[in-house]
């Protein structure tokens, strides 16, 4: 450090009233002009700061504030507590306890009417309470017909009555229709709350007065004899295809996939998104048996069920329409209860009823004229006759340990957090101009159950989709990263080198150039340095940083473009001007701009403050050389961002922007210039953390199958990641005083994320095999916390026990994220197929996804009404409909569908477009 620097540091430490005492320093200052200037500046700043301290609030402001506070103080009631509340509660509780102890031995409680004066009132009070509970659950209006008694009833009778009522109410709650389902007169619910319609068994007749109408608009009663066949399903005896396969082939003919009845001349079944699992995705046996008036004893499992067995969803069957089977489906989303009643002709009085089908549909009841009995069937359907449920198939594949190949669990892996994909932003913009509803609103990343960190920039969450390990288990390990919502603040002074590639003769150039320069001028702040270098035509460094003002810009522009821009080519204009010298190549222009940046590169400014912005509509020649130059600059802290004016060079500019650790943006029109410049200049202020190094160390014996959607980097790629990380590290150390701590590789899987933005969430999923219970993984994350200007380290470990444990919401969340990744990949494949013109293949992919979603939702009660899954499913349904329609011959429409699918696949994994 030179003596001047040393002295200037001491000068900088001086406050307003302090002066330098050291004679040597004073002597030096007298002789050194630089230090004199420095001291003078320091004094002026200190003086200004002191002046600022004398600023005072207006008296009116102070007065109004004070008055408001005093009036508030007066308005606040002064609660003088005579007794401490805790003491009062304890005293009351003690009193109650003592009273009970005294009264209980003498059985005197009955003498005290705790509810109300009359038994009827007691009953009323109980009902009121129950009504309140029901209203909370279902929010459905109800009517009651109560048997009222004028006689005085004894306490015991009241108790029984209340008990019976309570029981009844419970059933009623269970069968409450969902919100939006209106009461329907004429149908009743029996005392047990399940049976609907007039064919309720006789044993319930005496309680009919106490029934409540809960039939909903979703109820469907279909007389099969009049039902119009919509789909032909072959009999099992004549068609060896599985039921699901047949349905799968025909599913495209279904109108919407929602609740519907499909029948053919010999069979009928219902297809619903809620209970389709029980129908078209399970092992359903069917043989028409018109002679039989009861449920088929030989071909349905219902006949094999015994008393006290519980049937599962596989036993929801379909019946011969010639027996005039009526089929009713009632579903109640609100209380998670579904009931299905299948009734044959009244004279047969065979009533099959299934109640309280939970989303798993594991429990049900069957009711017949012989009485109620619950049934259970644990037998497995023979493989030859089993239709594989997509959800179960998917889950089985996810848990399969057969023929697995393992990867090394060390080294660098590709970063999957890429929020600033310019192509996707372009797609998003183009889709917004489409005729359909805004797709970007229809798709979103799954909301993760991660809290925003309070006292750091990032937090980490570690979960798996398994809750226990009792044997070698394949599972997904999820590493979740959540950024703080806070932003780092305002943008700081920047050093910008603009490079305009003018070798192409694009008519939009003048307007776009002007727009960009205007935007920069508008956004320019004190301390900003902006220079302009021209490539392709003579000129070189056209505007120096100190000349970047409106006057010199106007002059510079007039040397390049005249008002007859559209007619006159750049060459002729240049030829008429006195612009001297040889035209620079792009490489030379970039080198010139870099040299200019280095002159003004302030080591104390923040990372990303020195940036080259390349503006081009041309194909880039000699890209590998330029890439090396750009990469070297990036390591030195000078990043490169690119702005494309044309479609043909986007890939090349993206490559350069990646090498330069910058952004690639696309300028479609001059009107977009301000947005691009603002985004570019403010990009550094949105990042809350930099140089994030994620290390995932798997426990001994745990094997890695893959990191989902990522890949292992080769030696060259790893070296680039290391270089970039160390460059960030050095720069942040130099600028913000965050100690440099990078340089060594860690053990385990390493992922480096250059920057993480405020409010973002990201999950990294690993497919692993765990041999036994115990430690699974240890994850640590080191990063540069830009909110608190420090090195931060977060660490989490995952241990799983061997005790039986049901997967909870966290495990389900991991499964849902894996499914979302599967969804995104499927959609991406479909997009490629559509673009290739293979719409049928795309349709098959989407149909498979739709089926999977339907069955997955039925797999777990928490997923049954999951809004995100329903949203995705709805989107699939729309695309299936689109692809099914014959009117997609138009190339533009095909491209639109492909683009939107591609966008959806990307958007599913990214929080938002940056």
């Amino acid at each position: 450090m030179s003596i001047c620097n040393e002295i200037q540091q001491k000068i900088a430490d001086l406050t307003f009233n302090q002066t330098l005492q050291d004679q040597d320093i004073l002597q030096h200052i007298e002789t050194c002009q630089d230090c004199q200037d420095y001291q003078q500046t320091c004094v002026e700043i200190n003086q200004a700061m002191n002046d600022m301290s004398n600023y005072d609030a207006d008296d009116t402001l102070v007065e109004s504030t004070l008055n408001s506070i005093i009036s508030l103080q007066e308005d606040t009631p002064k609660s003088k507590r005579l007794l401490n509340t805790q003491w009062a509660s304890a005293l009351a509780a003690s009193f109650m306890l003592i009273s009970l102890i005294i009264l209980f031995p003498y059985n005197s409680l009955s003498e005290y009417n705790l509810f109300s004066s009359s038994p009827e009132d007691q009953f009323e009070s109980f009902i009121d309470e129950t009504e309140y509970e029901i209203a909370e659950i279902s929010n459905v209006q109800q009517t009651y017909n109560r048997n009222e008694s004028n006689n005085t009833v004894k306490a015991q009778e009241i108790k029984e009555q209340i008990k019976a009522r309570k029981k009844q109410m419970r059933y009623e709650i269970a069968s409450k229709p969902a919100k939006g389902i209106y009461p329907q007169r004429g149908a009743k619910v029996s005392a047990d709350g399940y049976a609907i319609g007039t064919s309720v068994s006789a044993q319930n007749d005496d309680e009919e007065l106490d029934t409540i109408t809960v039939m909903g608009s979703r109820l469907r009663s279909v007389d099969l004899s009049t039902a119009t066949p919509a789909l032909t399903i072959g009999r099992e005896s004549s068609n060896k295809d599985t039921f699901g396969k047949v349905l799968g082939e025909q599913e495209s003919q279904l109108s919407s996939g929602s609740l519907g009845i499909v029948s053919d001349k010999d069979s009928v079944f219902f297809e619903s998104k809620d209970i389709s699992l029980s129908i078209n995705e399970e092992s359903i046996q069917y043989q028409p048996s018109p002679s039989k008036k009861t449920l088929d004893a030989t071909n349905t499992k219902l006949s094999k069920l015994k008393k006290n067995d519980t049937i599962n969803n596989r036993n929801v069957g379909f019946y011969d329409h010639r027996e005039s089977v009526s089929l009713e489906l009632r579903q109640d989303i609100k209380v998670k209860a579904k009931s299905v009643r299948i009734t044959q002709t009244p004279d047969e009085k065979i009533i099959a009823k299934k109640d309280t089908l939970t989303a798993k549909l594991e429990r049900s009841k069957i009711e017949s004229n012989t009485g109620n009995f619950s049934l259970e069937s644990k037998e497995k359907t023979p493989q030859t006759k089993t239709l594989l449920n997509p959800a179960k198939q998917y889950l089985a594949e996810m848990q399969s340990l057969n023929s697995l190949t393992y990867q090394s669990d060390s080294g660098y892996w590709a970063n999957t957090y890429l929020p600033g994909d310019s192509h996707m932003r372009l797609l998003e913009a183009s889709l917004k101009n489409g005729n359909v509803a805004d797709i970007s609103n229809s798709i979103s990343q799954n909301i993760q159950p991660f809290d925003h960190p309070d006292n750091s920039a990032l937090s980490i969450y570690l979960n798996s989709d398994a809750a226990m390990v009792q044997q070698p288990t394949r599972m997904r390990l999820q590493v979740g990263i959540q950024a703080s919502n806070r932003q780092t603040g305002y943008r700081q002074a920047m050093n910008i080198g603009l490079v305009f590639d003018l070798s192409n003769k694009t008519s939009d150039y003048p307007a776009n150039m002007k727009a960009l320069l205007l935007a920069l001028l508008k956004s320019k702040q004190p301390g900003d340095y902006i220079s302009l270098t021209i490539a392709g035509v003579a000129g070189g460094l056209l505007i120096k940083p100190e000349d970047f003002r409106h006057g010199p810009i106007q002059v510079a522009l007039s040397t390049l473009f005249t008002k007859e821009t559209a007619k006159v080519t750049i060459e002729t204009k240049v030829a008429t001007k006195a612009t001297k010298g040889q035209a620079l190549t792009l490489q030379q222009a970039l080198a010139t701009a870099t040299a200019q940046l280095r002159i003004n590169d302030d080591p104390s400014s923040h990372l990303g403050s020195s940036v080259l912005i390349l503006f081009s509509a041309n194909n880039i020649d000699n890209i590998s050389t330029i890439e090396s130059l750009v990469h070297a600059n990036a390591i030195d802290g000078i990043t490169l961002s690119t702005i494309s004016l044309a479609q043909n060079n986007q890939a090349e500019l993206t490559k350069l922007a990646l090498a330069g650790q910058g952004h690639m943006r696309i300028l479609q029109s001059a009107n977009d210039a301000q947005r691009i410049i603002d985004t570019e200049l403010l990009s550094s202020s949105r990042a809350v953390a930099r140089a994030i190094r994620l290390r995932i160390r798997l426990a001994k014996g745990v094997k890695l199958i893959k990191v989902i959607d990522s890949y292992n980097l080769n030696h060259k790629q790893s070296q680039r990641v290391r270089d970039a990380e160390q460059s960030l590290d050095r720069r942040l150390s130099k600028n913000l005083g965050i100690t440099a701590d990078r340089g060594n590789d860690d053990e385990g899987i390493q992922i480096v994320i250059p920057a993480f933005f405020a409010g973002d969430t990201h999950v990294i999923l690993l497919d692993i095999v765990v041999p036994q219970a115990g430690a699974i993984a240890d994850v640590s994350m080191r990063y540069k916390d830009l909110l608190y200007l420090r090195n931060a380290l977060t660490r989490k470990q995952l241990n799983l026990g061997k005790h039986t444990k049901v997967p909870g919401p966290l495990q389900l969340n991991v499964m849902k994220n894996v499914l979302a990744s599967h969804f995104a990949n499927g959609i991406r494949q479909a997009s490629h197929k559509v673009r290739k013109g293979e719409s049928k293949k795309a349709l098959t992919i989407l149909l498979a996804l739709q089926k999977l979603y339907q069955s997955m939702r039925a797999q777990h009660p928490l997923w049954n009404d999951d809004i995100e899954m329903l949203k995705d499913e709805n989107l699939l349904r729309q695309y299936i409909k689109q692809l099914n329609s014959t009117a997609i011959q138009d190339t533009q429409q095909i491209n639109y569908i492909a683009d939107s699918l591609q966008y959806i696949s990307w958007r599913k994994n990214i929080t938002k477009t940056q």
């Binding site: 900088a12 430490d13 600023y55 932003q487 003002r549």
Partner: protein, 201 residues
């Protein structure tokens, strides 16, 4: 005349007196802290409307949180902890405006280059300096700005600032030094800019 120690001891009772219904107590507090708080807000680079709003906000918060103040602590750091948090919340809420992407617009508007910045001649030198300082402090990293801002306050010790910002004392010192160096540097740069612009015009 009361010494600083007496004032320091006396001010610790103001909030308790205010809670017990003494109307004068809060007036005394406001009188003592109106200038430090307001000038602090000024140094944060806030415009007048925001300053006035936040000024009221800070004193309302002081009133609301009066119960949590402990007499054993000094009042000034407690008040500035409230102030700094209020300003931070305000800054956080002022997120950069998101411009909508509007592509495929065929019409290109003819653009005029206009210099919208005020000429230096129109403002006095001292006002110019203060305005520049406000802007320059905005451009400082938040941590440096906070540290410098707090240490300027009369009577605020570095240890108090460290406590308020929840940072080690050495870090505060570093932030203050870096903030000063950055300010001096950017002042020199802006001066050079002004000189060069004058020479061009």
């Amino acid at each position: 005349m009361k010494s600083d120690v007496d004032i320091g001891t006396e001010e610790r009772n103001w909030l308790a007196q205010h809670l017990s219904g003494d109307k004068q107590a809060f007036a005394k507090l406001m009188q003592a802290y109106r200038k430090p708080v307001y000038s602090y807000l000024l140094r944060c680079g806030l415009d007048k409307n925001s300053r006035d709003d936040l000024f009221q906000d800070i004193f309302f918060k002081i009133h609301k949180s009066a119960k949590s103040y402990k007499k054993s602590n000094r009042l000034s750091p407690w008040i500035f902890t409230i102030a700094i948090n209020t300003v931070r919340n305000h800054i956080r809420d002022q997120k950069p405006a998101q411009n909508h992407l509007s592509l495929y617009i065929d019409e290109v508007v003819e653009l005029q280059l206009v210099d919208q910045s005020p000429t230096p001649e129109k403002i006095t030198q001292s006002q110019h300096m203060i305005q520049w300082l406000q802007q320059a402090m905005l451009n400082l990293p938040q941590a440096q700005c906070d540290a410098l801002n707090l240490t300027i306050i009369k009577g605020m010790k570095l240890t108090d600032a460290a406590k308020i910002l929840n940072l080690p004392l050495s870090t505060i010192k570093t932030h203050v030094r870096r903030a000063r160096q950055n300010l001096i540097l950017s002042y020199k740069i802006s001066n050079n800019d002004t000189i060069s612009s004058r020479s061009i015009s």
